[in-house]
């Protein structure tokens, strides 16, 4: 069963053609990664799926339902969470306030509390710092907060944009462990990463993007052992 199905998606920023017909899909419970260099269009793809950027052509289906160019606030309600690039936590709000805004679409207080408890259990570090302002957290903690905040809407599909950005390697591994754990809990994941090495180790299936196009797709096992991929993205020849 396909949770997310993107077909020949075309996106323009003014005259610049950022996506030139991209197709990609995420199966139920699958962990998919999208790798590629800077400017390949990875973030654009996520932003188009979440409705932040407008698509010109093609289709984005969520459980078979067309969602291209719908409002971001509607798309969150459907069950897609977006953990944006650069974390974008609310720096002057406390950890807990950040989390509660993540559950904004939910009106049932007991459910919000339950989600809060569950996410604190998953991220004990955040529980320790629940009264602290988001901006005072370390980079790794901020990334955890961004992910936890995304989980607060109890999504089925989570779109993660560069969670390793600007983090020390040890922290990156820690963050990836969380992502794997979240996937194990049954959430489908679409992970955009420049750290191809790590992304291909944890994900099930991978897409490789270059200048607005998907140039390769395969199971991550095969991508990892592919010489061309090794040379271009994994830095081992």
């Amino acid at each position: 069963m396909k949770v997310l199905d993107v077909q020949s998606l075309v996106v323009f920023y003014g005259k610049i053609n950022a996506l030139k017909g991209v197709s990609l899909s995420v199966e139920q419970g699958q962990f998919v990664t999208l790798i590629g260099a800077n400017g390949a269009g990875k973030t654009t793809l996520l932003n188009t799926v979440t409705g932040v950027v407008e698509g010109t052509e093609g289709s984005v289906r969520y459980h078979g339902k067309e969602i291209l160019n719908r409002y971001p606030h509607d798309i969150v309600r459907l069950g897609i969470a977006h953990v944006p690039e650069g974390r974008k936590i609310f720096p002057e709000l406390t950890v807990e306030e950040n989390m509660r805004i993540g559950a904004f679409i939910m009106k049932d207080r007991t459910r919000v509390q339950a989600l809060l408890d569950r996410n604190y259990e998953l991220f004990p570090r955040l529980a320790e710092r629940r009264r602290q302002e988001g901006g005072t957290l370390s980079g790794g903690e901020q990334q955890m907060l961004a992910i936890a905040r995304g989980l607060m809407s109890d999504p089925e599909l989570i779109l993660l944009d560069e969670p390793s950005l600007g983090l020390a390697p040890l922290l990156v591994e820690k963050i990836f462990e969380f992502i794997v754990e979240i996937n194990r809990l049954g959430k489908s994941i679409l992970l955009v990463e420049q750290n191809a090495n790590l992304a291909l180790q944890v994900a099930h299936y991978g897409y490789v993007m270059e200048t607005g196009r998907v140039v390769r797709e395969d199971s991550t096992d095969r991508l990892r052992s592919d010489d061309a991929i090794k040379n271009a993205y994994l830095g081992i020849g």
Binding site: V52, P72, A81, F90, P91, E92, L93, E97, F104, G135
Partner: protein
């Protein structure tokens, strides 16, 4: 040198005063609120001079205006420079209803709030998609347009003549006295502040603050950013309209002169001085900036200069305001002091002879 010393100490002084005040008010919150309420009730019986009661009543109007503008500037982080226009729309609605249609003040008051809110929603829908600077310009423009319409639509607003003879409100047949005006405005101010407090601590308040902090992230959280901005605008304008209605029936004469853009700046200065985003701050700012000009009456027209100076000082030296925890003037995440403070407090760099010079290993 003296001045430099004093300037240097302003931020720390304000900071420690703020910290002391915060600790004090957190500890004695309920007694303080009770004290305030008792003060409101006994005030006109202790200080009976008409001048003092009048100043206090004006203060009440400004508390409503500053608290409501705080929803827009402080919570949502939007720059509206046209708050006085909505205040004026409220005043004219109420005045015209009372003088032309003979509507009772008690009906004209909420009606003025609703009409101002409707204009707020309309202007909001038209302008809130704009980015910060452009929003500031368009709201400023709206303030000017409102003034020009009031001045020129003579058949409706009586133009520069203004509207005179606005009836004194009656309370079960007894006309209002100086003291009843005070009680009413105090009541309206308390209701406004409580209302703003309730909004802040609700889902709506959370959405507004999220928009202020990071619009894009707020959108990703499922917040209808535009809708909530319009809502914030509408709510704030409702209270401004109420304040306008009260003002019209208190002053009993209104003209465009009472609702100029300078009035908007006064209200903004109140919010900024008290602390953008702080509910108590807006009240404190309104109180200080109503009392201060009274004390500086001899400055007459130069009072605006004083406002400007205060605004600049606050932005440069204490972006958080007196009470405010954080201000919209403050760059988020930036721990850097404002340049002027940095410059004044920088220690002279004299090479330390005890430390080895040259490169590090």
């Amino acid at each position: 040198m003296e001045l430099k010393q004093t300037l240097r100490r302003i931020p720390t002084l304000l900071g420690s005063a703020r910290a002391a005040m915060a600790a004090f008010s957190a500890r004695y919150r309920m007694p303080l609120v009770l004290l305030l309420l008792v003060g409101i009730v006994v005030f006109p019986h202790v200080i009976t001079g008409p001048y003092y009661i009048r100043v206090a009543t004006i203060m009440g109007i400004y508390v409503i205006l500053a608290s409501s503008l705080n929803i827009i500037i402080g919570f949502t982080g939007l720059f509206s420079l046209g708050h006085a226009a909505f205040y004026g729309i409220g005043a004219y609605t109420s005045a015209l209803l009372a003088t032309q249609a003979g509507v009772s003040f008690w009906i004209a008051l909420p009606a003025a709030g609703l009409v101002a809110a409707a204009f707020g929603a309309l202007i909001g829908v038209a302008t809130l998609r704009l980015r910060a600077v452009f929003l500031a310009f368009t709201t400023l423009g709206f303030g000017e347009i409102t003034r020009i319409v009031i001045l020129n639509w003579r058949s409706f607003t009586r133009g520069p003549l203004g509207i005179a003879g606005i009836p004194v409100p009656q309370f079960f047949g007894t006309p209002f006295t100086r003291v009843s005006y005070w009680y009413l405005v105090a009541g309206l101010a308390v209701v406004t502040v409580l209302g703003v407090y309730r909004v802040y601590h609700s889902r709506i308040g959370r959405a507004l603050v999220a928009i202020r902090e990071d619009e894009l992230a707020a959108r990703s959280m499922g917040i209808h950013v535009f809708g909530y901005k319009v809502l914030a605008f509408t709510m704030a304008c409702f209270f401004a309209g109420i304040a306008g209605s009260f003002f019209a029936h208190f002053q009993r004469f209104i003209s465009a002169d009472s609702f100029l853009n300078t009035e908007s700046f006064t209200i903004i200065t109140m919010v900024a001085l008290g602390g953008t985003g702080s509910i108590v701050g807006a009240v404190v700012g309104a109180v200080i900036l109503t009392l201060l000009p009274e004390m500086f009456r001899f400055l007459v027209e130069f009072r605006m200069v004083l406002y400007g100076l205060i605004l600049i000082m606050v932005i440069v030296l204490k972006p958080g305001g007196i009470v405010g925890v954080k201000g919209v003037f403050e760059k988020p995440k930036s721990q850097r002091k404002p340049w002027i403070v940095e410059k004044l407090t920088r220690k002279p760099t004299i090479p330390d002879a005890t430390q080895p010079q040259g490169g590090t290993l």
